[in-house]
Structure formats: C-alpha cells, structure tokens
C-alpha cells in the first residue's frame, strides 16, 4: 500500500463538496464565506495533487498556480468581509434571507 494520487483527488473532492454545501445551504453570512474559502482550498489541493503526476518540467506549473489562487482568495475574503460589515451595520442581522431584496 503506497500513497496514490487518487486518494488526494478524492480528499479534494470531499472537501470541495463540503465547502459547496456550506456555501449554498447555510443561512449565516459568515458560513457562506467560509464555505467559499473551503472550496478554494480543495481546488488548490487538487492542483498540487495533479502536478505530482506530471514529468519534470511540467510539474512546476501546478505548484505555481495555487500561489496565485491563494492570493486571489485573500483579496476575495478582504472585500467579502468588508461587505459583511456593511450589511450588518444596515440591518443588524447575519441571516442571508434578510438581504434578498434583489430577488425581483
């Protein structure tokens, strides 16, 4: 029994599914943002797991791209939490159903 790449991909898939479920089905705004972070993390893990299955020079790209993905996630969290602060100050609530007035 050795460590196989497929185990890493299955783990990434499970974490991505959990992140997606958290982002869609939780009502608290904080949990929605945390679910997005979890899904982004799973994608990084998948990138690195696949990069290790490629030969020498091609395996570098899969280890560079997650750096950019992490930085973009940092920018997303920054703006996202600023928006949560703004929303919370307006209605004193973190329930996402209170902010559905763009539903039409």
């Amino acid at each position: 029994m050795e460590l196989q790449p497929i185990y890493i991909q299955i783990l990434a898939l499970a974490i991505f599914a959990l992140g997606l479920m958290t982002a869609i089905s939780r009502r608290n705004l904080f949990f929605v943002l945390m679910g997005v972070e979890l899904a982004l993390n799973a994608v990084n893990l998948s990138f690195i797991g696949f990069s290790k299955t490629l030969p020498a020079d091609m395996s570098v790209t899969g280890q560079i791209v997650p750096l950019f993905s992490i930085a973009v996630a940092a920018a997303e969290a920054c703006v996202g939490f600023a928006m949560v602060i703004l929303l919370f100050r307006k209605k004193e609530s973190v329930d996402s159903d209170n902010y559905s007035n763009m539903k039409g």
């Binding site: 460590l3 196989q4 790449p5 497929i6 185990y7 890493i8 991909q9 299955i10 783990l11 898939l13 499970a14 974490i15 599914a17 959990l18 479920m21 958290t22 869609i24 089905s25 939780r26 009502r27 608290n28 904080f30 949990f31 943002l33 945390m34 679910g35 972070e37 979890l38 993390n41 990084n44 893990l45 690195i48 797991g49 990069s51 290790k52 299955t53 030969p55 020498a56 395996s59 570098v60 790209t61 280890q63 560079i64 997650p66 750096l67 992490i70 930085a71 973009v72 940092a74 920018a75 969290a77 920054c78 703006v79 600023a82 602060i85 919370f88 004193e92 609530s93 973190v94 329930d95």
Partner: protein
C-alpha cells in the same frame, strides 16, 4: 507506507474539521475548525512535496485570512442572533444534489489512470522563486502575473477600506465628531 499513514491522519483531520465547519452553530467555532482544516491541508502539501506552498498556506490562509475572519466575527458579535435556523429550506434539494455530483465526479476520477511521476520536481523555495521570477524572454512569464496580483490586492484593500468605513455626515459619525 509511512507516507500513507501520515496522509490518512492529516486527511481525517482535514475532513473532520470541514464537517465541523458545515455543522457548527456559532461562526467562531466554524472559523476555528476552518483553521484546523487549513493547517492539515498545509501538512498534506508538505507531504506530497510542495513545502513552499504549505508554508504559504499557513501564512496567508491560517494566518492572514482567518485572522480577518475571527476579527470580523468578534467585532460584529455575530452570535447575537442565534435564533435564525442553521439551514435553508432549499438545502433539502441542494445537499443530495451536491452529493450526487460528488459521486459522479468521484466515479469518473476512480476510473482515470493516475500515477505519481518519479521525475516530478519538489516545489522547494529555490525552485518556486526561480520559476516565479524568471524574467527571461523565453521564460514562463509568471512575474507579470505576480505584478498584476499586487495591483489586485491593493485595489481590494482600498475597496475594503472604502466599503467598511463609516459614512461621513451620518448620524454616528456626527455624534463622535461634535467638536467640529
């Protein structure tokens, strides 16, 4: 064999913490579970041969982003309305749909022929920085992306400051600035 044991331990920690994020009621417990999950994932990155990415994961995710999350939760006191239900009504359909999707993708993945390549390079600090800052004309050109990312982070910071600051001339800011 030893790598598999380490991987199983870290994977169980990461998955358990992710389940805790999904099921916890208080946002602060969710944030702490998320930190645990991210640190375990950083360990997996180091285990499969990308130590630099593991360190970046700990610094940026477990350090900066989660610090921001816990700070915002504590400032806003997000536990104040503990009466709202945890799950939406639509999650009756969402959770089975996501599970079925994950099952389908997993089925496709298990059939794919994947194997570790022996010649895959170890993502050490030297290799990563040499590739990232390769400014040669024939190089991969990641340094341009790096510069663009600096601009993105700067604009995100300015946007966050502009969004979150109190409106000038609003009631609260006039109360605090009565001397003017």
């Amino acid at each position: 064999m030893l790598a598999l044991i380490y991987f199983i331990i870290l994977a169980v920690i990461a998955l358990g913490a992710a389940v805790c994020v999904f099921l916890s009621r208080h946002p602060l417990y969710g944030a702490l579970s998320l930190v645990t999950s991210m640190v375990a994932l950083a360990g997996i990155y180091g285990l499969i041969g990308s130590p630099f990415l593991g360190v970046v994961q700990i610094m940026v995710y477990a350090g900066a982003i989660m610090m921001l999350v816990t700070f915002v939760i504590m400032v806003l006191n997000g536990a104040r309305d503990s009466k709202t239900p945890m799950f939406d009504k639509v999650s009756f359909f969402v959770i089975p749909a996501v599970l079925v999707l994950a099952g389908l993708v997993g089925f496709a993945l298990v059939g794919a022929p994947l194997a570790f390549d022996e010649t895959a390079l170890r993502g050490s600090v030297a290799l990563t920085s040499r590739t990232l800052f390769d400014v040669a004309q024939t190089g991969p050109g990641y340094f341009m992306l790096f510069e663009v990312l600096g601009l993105l982070l700067l604009s995100a910071m300015v946007a966050a400051v502009l969004l979150a600051k109190k409106r000038l001339g609003s009631v609260q800011s006039e109360n605090t600035e009565e001397g003017h």
